[in-house]
Symmetry: C2
Subunit: 433 residues, 2 copies
């Protein structure tokens, strides 16, 4: 049994080998995994039955049990996902910038893996395969910690994936399963070996991780999303978008938690909205001006900062678009916020001023998702502002290097004038990537 540090050292070494693997090899591994996972499905289901039995003994809630289950349908989804991922273009070796600095001296910015990822995720065993495969496709090694409840299933999945990877000579240590909370704590201090942490879970959990590590953290945080119905909103569109954003699913980060309504739109819109929400069983909590128009519970200051993740919606009437924007920037989580308006200038102001990863016009916040964006897959949704923002797919797991190809040029020669800067953009790819 290796310590977490030994596992991380091995992952670091593996990362240096992964970076040199051609795209075909990484894809071959994904296809090999898809095949072997299906072949060994009975082992996986048996392990999952063990996890499910323990979870029932511990009286896990029904939605959690549903997430924990691994059956033929879910495994088929997993293997389909692996095949789809193998079909996506290589995120590595892409020339992002090409420039002649001086004659014979060419600069390229080329995408490359980040290195070693540490990902902590919830009790959904399909998440293990998804994250491990995204890491492999993007040339990163990964330390993976899933939910305690899924440990048996995760072990079975990891064993099969590891064997499939060995069959096509993927370097040992490309991915490893961490099993305990102590393992996660140990990981937090290994900034020499781990380049990026991706904690998925509650805000409190993400904050805990940030507070206890020097490793950069990409927060897959929860979301407090807003729908703002502007003065010049189309009422039918406003209704459609609000209902979808609130009710299409409740326990998801891209559901709306607060509805803001321009005072001019409120008298016509709020009663219709009230009726629609009642039909869906959604409880409303309104400010005073809302309660003057419809009957609902009063909203308190705390409501504006609460991510209900439930059939509850707070509602506030605002005087202007500017007030709506200020509310969103103050109470929101910088995840995804939508305006409903027919006024292009209002849409433009909202887009420019709302400080969120996603700013939507006349559509539901529920579209904030890597699959829906066409990224193929996502490792999470980042609400920070640096590196990747919003749904994070393969691209967010890559960084870049500057490659400078010369013929012996020196900076001294640029001082004497023997070498002269041209700074001419090129359209070619880096010939050595």
């Amino acid at each position: 049994m290796m310590t977490v540090e030994q596992t991380a050292v091995l992952a670091r070494e593996a990362s240096y080998a992964l970076v040199a693997l051609p795209h075909e090899k990484r894809n071959a591994a994904l296809l090999s995994m898809a095949e072997l996972l299906w072949e060994r499905r009975e082992d996986i289901f048996a392990a999952n039955r063990g996890d499910m039995a323990r979870a029932r003994e511990e009286s896990l809630a029904a939605p959690l049990l549903a997430r924990l289950l691994m059956d033929e349908k879910k495994l088929r989804g997993v293997t389909d996902g692996l095949r789809a991922l193998s079909g996506l273009p290589d995120p590595l070796g892409r020339t992002l910038l090409a420039r002649e600095l001086a004659p014979g001296l060419r600069l390229y910015r080329v995408s490359c893996p980040i290195g070693v990822l540490g990902v902590v995720f919830e009790s959904r065993p399909d998440a293990l395969v998804q994250i491990a495969s995204l890491a492999l496709k993007s040339g990163n090694a990964a330390l993976l910690k899933g939910g305690r409840e899924a440990l048996g299933t995760n072990r079975a999945l990891m064993e099969v994936m590891d064997e499939a990877a060995r069959r096509v000579s993927i370097p040992q240590g490309w991915a490893a399963l961490l099993e305990t909370r102590d393992d996660v704590s140990a990981m937090l201090s290994l900034d020499t070996y781990i380049d990026l942490l991706i904690p998925r879970g509650s805000n409190a959990f993400v904050r805990y991780i940030m507070d206890h590590t020097h490793i950069p953290v990409m927060g897959h945080a929860e979301g407090l999303c807003h729908v703002y119905v502007d003065k010049l909103a189309d009422t039918a569109t406003a209704l459609k978008v609000t209902v979808d954003a609130k009710t299409q699913a409740y326990a998801v980060c891209n559901a709306a938690e607060t509805l803001l309504v321009h005072q001019a739109a409120a008298p016509a819109f709020l009663p219709l909205m009230d009726k629609a929400m009642r039909e869906k069983g959604v409880l409303l909590r309104g400010d005073e001006r809302t309660r003057a128009l419809i009957s609902c519970e009063p909203a308190t200051e705390a409501d504006w900062g609460t991510e209900y993740l439930d059939a509850v919606l707070s509602v506030r009437v605002v005087d202007s678009l500017e007030e709506a924007v200020a509310h969103i920037n103050r109470y929101g989580s910088h995840h995804t916020d939508a305006i409903v308006t027919e006024d292009r200038e209002a849409a433009r102001r909202f887009i420019s001023r709302v400080d969120s990863a996603g700013v939507y016009v006349n559509c539901s916040t529920r579209f904030a998702d890597g699959f829906r964006y066409g990224f193929g897959a996502e490792v999470g949704i980042a609400t920070g502002k640096l590196h990747a923002r919003g749904p994070v797919g393969l691209e967010g797991l890559c960084t870049y290097k500057y490659i400078l190809l010369g013929e012996g040029q020196t900076v001294e020669e640029t001082m004497t004038g023997a070498v002269k800067y041209t700074h001419r953009d090129l359209t070619e790819d880096c010939p050595l990537s």
Copy 2:
């Protein structure tokens, strides 16, 4: 006198106004600054004479005094820089991705400011103008803390820049000067208002900042750069590159500190290198195999991890390119490392495996610089792997948002099939940015 928190709150508010300023307005401010700084040059020089006198009393070393000096020539450089910056393209509102998700539902990834920056920099008053202007051009508000020695000059510069900004109605609080170490400490806890810290200075200082804040940090760290002379290196090129990388300047982060030489190249190359370095007054510290070929002081394990920033070079003979890469990844600072070789395959292996922001072939590490890359200006060189890597110019001070423009589409409609995903890439710019 405002507290640091009040200053940060004002900067946050300013950031929401800055984001809405058109490019012309931001450029007008830069040109207004260039003009007023020159007009008020005598006030600035007078303030600088005060700083210089105090610095001489405190017996500051000559190179530091030279950096602290603000004279006509340096101020001309500063105002030229402002004018050049105003001529660069707008880094904001650039459409980085455009995709039809479904008919009438279009996704755009558009560049936008990060928000509020906190920058701590050294005692070079021209750095204040450079950083404040980069922040303004990229629509960010900034809290700026310069070196204690330059305080008088910085106050004078800031006052003039602020007046110039007011003249073209830039929102109050766009930039503010912090004056003491306590101010910096106070800034570290203001993660509600500050989005990114950029500490320039020693590794120890950057590490201190990272250890005491929850705000993301973009490290402008020092550099431990390598030149590796491969088996198939051209000797004249190797000599030229090594001499420039070590001696073109000493106290800079992109100078070479360690030379690695393939054993097959060492007998011919090392004596020539030894002679060239002696002529430049560079002290060599070699491993045993180096000392078997040339006479120099012995290098210890500590040398491989030392950034001399001086006329000292450690030298090691390696058995292979792989050994050179392993040495660089182990002891280096992931800044910039160069190979000298005529072998394209060797160059390719080196590029793929060296884990640094800059990987160079047959040219000097001294090229690692925002101006030399043609970025116009730089706020620093990042040696982390996330967000911006290498020289950080305007682009590194921006993030992006996803903008989704619809006609009332809901996720529920994608479930029923009423809305069908197309995921078709578009070539248009976002019409509302």
